[in-house]
């Protein structure tokens, strides 16, 4: 399984990569699963959510994806009455935000290791605690900063249609 593209998070004015998927909890608890098209091996879930922590609350503020019928999915697709902002009260758990240079690339899920992990502990959508774990220092001074995936395979739409 290829390393996965992260969710986006705005926290304390910074744009971060979030290696947690609160929407999967929503789908599990609400008993729904929209048919997102998986366009590439680095995005099996088929969407990228944009999140924000504002006033210590976790909000979903955007969604990009394509449904299997070819239509573009947005926040309004999932939450028609809340097209701009959705309070993620269903989520309790730890959000991991890798920061710094990559120490060890793992071509699977969110398993790669970075210099630091910012952990945000959320209880029913409310931030309880933020902590940082130091994982080490990169030996490569010019290595790129921040989360990334090493390689992906993109599926052409024509190929997908053929399978259908």
């Amino acid at each position: 399984m290829t390393a996965q593209i992260s969710e986006k998070l705005t926290y304390e004015g910074r744009q971060l990569s979030m290696c947690s998927e609160p929407l999967s909890d929503y789908f599990a608890l609400a008993g729904i699963r929209p048919s997102f098209e998986s366009n590439c091996t680095a995005l099996w879930r088929g969407y990228v959510g944009s999140w924000e922590i504002l006033e210590n609350r976790l909000y979903l503020i955007g969604l990009s994806g394509t449904l299997e019928d070819g239509t573009e999915a947005t926040l309004q697709t999932l939450f028609p009455d809340f097209p701009g902002r959705v309070f993620a009260h269903w989520f309790s758990g730890r959000i991991r935000v890798p920061e710094g240079k990559m120490l060890d690339y793992v071509h699977m899920g969110y398993a790669s290791t970075y210099e630091r992990d910012l952990f945000l502990d959320i209880e029913k959508g409310v931030l309880q605690r933020a902590s940082v774990r130091e994982n080490g220092t990169s030996d490569t001074p010019d290595a790129a900063e921040g989360y990334g995936v090493g390689a992906i395979t993109v599926f052409p739409r024509g190929m997908k249609d053929k399978e259908d």
Partner: protein
């Protein structure tokens, strides 16, 4: 002998033209989302150097190579079209969670549950109803109740086939002492590092 070589190269030209046409067709059908995603992963896609390489140099090299070794190109393109793609991890075959007697916490009335589970958000980003964005699932759960049923809250440890051990919480219908359908309100990994 030369006639065979010309024939071979002529077929190669046809194969390359067909493959490039198919490639152009599939490119135009890419969604904006895929394009944005690729731009985010490979920011260099938008540089002049990358575009020259991608639009002119690489196609030219591929075309020349394709004419020379077209059976290989034909095989690879055919494999792409008819060979299928990497299979995503299975989701549907997860074992099914069920509540047990030992998971039960307390018996509550509908009114008590709906009062304690009302979600309030200062920015108004959730419905003003019990369980907020999960309200539709709650209403569906309530529809399965029969007049003599009661509801109990529960908290259970769950080890899914994939992923880490979790604590699941919610409500379950109790009917004549038997546990019926449940409604999940929280899912939390136990070791979350």
């Amino acid at each position: 002998m030369l006639i065979y070589l010309y024939g071979y190269l002529a077929i190669g030209v046809v194969v390359v033209v067909v493959i490039f046409t198919a490639h152009l067709i599939s490119r135009t059908r890419e969604s904006d989302f895929v394009k944005e995603m690729q731009d985010a992963i490979y920011p260099e896609r938008n540089t002049l150097r990358y575009r020259i390489l991608n639009i002119f140099v690489i196609p030219l090299i591929v075309a020349v190579a394709g004419v020379a070794v077209w059976p290989a190109a034909f095989y690879l393109k055919g494999k792409e079209f008819w060979g299928g793609k990497e299979v995503p991890p299975p989701e549907e075959t997860e074992k099914e969670f069920s509540v047990t007697e030992g998971d039960l916490l307390e018996t509550l009335s509908i009114t008590e549950i709906e009062t304690r589970e009302r979600i309030v958000d200062p920015m108004g980003a959730t419905p003003d109803s019990p369980f907020g964005h999960l309200n539709a699932a709650w209403l569906k759960f309530k529809e399965t109740m029969e007049p003599q049923d009661s509801i109990s809250s529960f908290s259970a440890q769950w080890s899914p086939r994939w992923g880490s051990e979790q604590t699941l919480a919610g409500y379950v219908i109790v009917r004549d002492g038997r546990l019926e359908s449940h409604f999940l309100t929280a899912r939390r990994p136990i070791n979350d590092d």
